[in-house]
Amino acid sequence: MTRPFKQDIHNALENANLAGALTRFSEAYVVSRAKAYEGIDFEALRARVAEIKGGAAGRLQELAAEFTEKVEAKGARVFRTDSPEKVRDYILNLARERGVRSIVKSKSMASEEIHLNAALQKAGIEVRETDLGEWIIQLSGQRPSHMVMPAIHLKKEEVAEIFSQELRERLSSDIPRLVQVARTEMRQKFLEADLGISGANIAVAETGTLVLVTNEGNGRMVTTLPKIHVAIVGLEKLIARFEEVAPILQALPRSATAQLLTSYVTMITGPVPNTDGSLKELHIILLDSRRTAMARDPKFKQGLQCIRCASCLNVCPVFRLVGGHVFGHTYTGGIGVILTAWFNGLKKSEEIQGLCIQCGRCREVCPARIDIPGLIVEIRRNLAREEGQSLGQKAAYSIVNNRRVFHGLLRAAAIAQKPFVKDGFIRHLPLFLSDMTGFRSLPAIAAVPFRDRFREIRQPVTGERVAFFAGCLIDFAYPEIGEAVVTVLNKAGLEVVFPDRQTCCGAPAHYSGAFEVAAHNAADNIDALLQEEVRAVVSACPTCTAFLKYEFVNSLEETGLNRKARELSSRTVDFSSLVQKLVEGGRLRPAEIRETIPVTYHDSCHLKRTLGIFQEPRSLLAKAGYAVTEMFEADMCCGMGGSYSLKNPAISAHILERKLNNIRQTGTPLVAMDCPACVLQIRGGFDKEGGTVRVKHTAELLAERLR
């Protein structure tokens, strides 16, 4: 990470206004979005949107040709180009030829992408953004901090100051008054303008229709009052058929602003009459700018399904801390990383891609069903491929890749108990080898790892065997969690085996884009785990479980190990799901009733969103005599994200602080979770501040209270 970027992050985190505004919004958004989707089958709707947009992305050129033919037959002119420069030239020439002196614009992100305003102003043409937020941004010389709410980072006092300077008149910070000022000021501009520029949310090939979705009414004025209308449309806005407009309009306002429909939806098909009776001159610019190339990439093609609702920004635990000035370029947040990597070049996404913590919340809400975190990992892979790995990375992965050396190192570290490796190196190792204890304490490396302690456990011989996959954290930092797992399973009459040759699941390498290393880890583990004749492979780490269950299959897709990966996948189960089945089968019961113990439960990202498990641990805790009080945002990331907390310690610390606070708010003295990495983060946080809240893995709590 470069120093200026680090400084930007620092400044954003210190900006209380920014974090306050974004956080309040993100909290309110979740509630209002849910209400807007009441009575709608979201999964079915987004499947339809993905189908429509995905289908269109597969035939952009064909749809562009059809659109052009249809709308030109109506009298519009279409200019299709790959080059931002040619778009600027086209509009400049048009303006020159028609003697245009002033332009009003409704929102167009494509125009921001090509820096159109600067070019027009340089040519002496007055350009006025008319969307209120965009106008504020234009006057203040900033860039939008959010795709839907460009000025969300500004307080009303700042807006009053910006307007006061523009109008040379002292204005109060009363919001309705400020809006009134904008209305009056802008009205004259609308009536005087020679040319109107708009974007489009949808372009329909079959009919040549442009669809504009707005709330303020500026879009209607821009397309009605000036005699010339130029619409700048990214190629990915094309869809095949008119009837496909409906599902997109059902999803976009609900996801963007939690409205059932925006105040105005305008559908324009060809030139319309002007107020003087003449026919409007309509120019439509279809901007390619790397979209066709993106559509040809089998993985990234789905990024073109985006309908620009910005819900991935609104639910992101990182975005709400740093905002779009840090987290993004023209396009911001998670989808912004992906679009930036294509529209502006991979290099431009290098810093911002590192801000994604891979919690998966955006994937849950994306109305176009884009796997945003998955594509960001693909960007990491491409970056690693293009720029190679650093020496530190290489050294680290050569160790993780060799189980004996790796485990030897961990054992040595346990004896040394001092960081004995350099920063750039440990960043890529499992993080309990790190000494970066700034905002949380880190666990000591266990003197005796689980793999050694396991041999000492006396188990019943039942012949019904399950294999335990410990993962690095349980094996080398929290062996007691592993022991609790064995205790619970033994009580149900299961015999646990520990395949000794198991190693790191490969998640750290995968999330850094080192896919070959991850594939190597996968192959080693498959080999180790399929050796044993067992009923199931169980893990008490949701990240490991997700890798055994899904990621191994993906990373070995094109190898001969594919079949074996699938076999392991079908055997793999997370701890809580397995125990829930054992309880349901009557093989585990609550121990004799003692007093109920209050607890709150933290949902780990991979357990909730990758594995879909959240009922099971709550139900098990309740059965075992724990009274579960829900915390606010129980399924919000704790800020750990594996090595993320080492690469972005300041962001990780802020996210953790919120989590600790939400836990404290419940008043329970105990918090449970199913992930040892969350245990590390949250326990470390409480420990650092000297708090009294106990942090436990669900397995530890069940071991005491089930029989």
């Binding site: 937020g133 209305r183 709330n215 009414g217 209607r220 059932l260 559908m267």
Partner: protein
């Protein structure tokens, strides 16, 4: 009329005002009252513009302008810009979002619903459809170059996310629903 009730609930939820009348005559009575109450008179900023529409059939336009000085039936850009109230008839309503739908290709239709502070929208109660897909099935955009869907007044939340009504377009949307005329006995 379950569709009307749903339409009214949704429209009011987005700050539209909804009135319903059993006949054209009663609707006209309300409109004239409304124009009077809003102080419509013949000067810039206080006049009203009424775009051509089927509702007006059977009424004497000249007589109406005599009753309400300041009410104009010739809609120009200048007049609409100086009007307090714009009146137009919408083609459909959508029950599940409280939306008005109009083929607004004729520029007068756009002017009266865009520039004045108050948009008074006429709608036949029988033209209320369940939802957006229903109306899109009826429309061929090649026949209607400028389709306007209006759901409540102009709004913004661009300053501190505070919902504020009336930024560029109408501050009020007053919907007057008219039931079909009963056959004379």
């Amino acid at each position: 009329m379950p569709l009307f009730n749903a339409f009214k609930t949704r429209a009011e939820a987005v700050s539209s005002e909804v009135h319903r009348f059993p006949s054209k005559m009663e609707a006209m009575g309300f409109i004239l009252e409304f124009l009077k109450k809003e102080g419509i008179e013949d000067s810039v900023g206080t006049c009203a513009c009424w775009a051509p529409c089927p509702f007006l059939e059977g009424f004497d336009a000249k007589r109406l302008t005599e009753i309400v000085p300041g009410l104009h039936f010739e809609v120009t850009r200048q007049r609409a810009a100086g009007a307090k109230i714009g009146i137009s008839q919408m083609d459909w309503g959508l029950a599940d979002t409280g939306t008005l739908v109009q083929d607004a290709t004729a520029v007068e239709q756009r002017l009266v619903s865009t520039l004045p502070e108050i948009h008074l929208a006429l709608l036949e109660t029988g033209k209320i459809l369940p939802d957006l897909p229903a109306v899109l099935r009826l429309i061929d955009p090649r026949e209607a170059s400028y389709l306007a869907l209006i759901t409540g007044p102009s709004r913004t939340a661009d300053i501190e996310r505070v919902l504020t009504i009336g930024v560029h377009g109408p501050v009020r949307v007053v919907i007057v629903c008219i039931d079909p005329e009963k056959e004379a006995a």
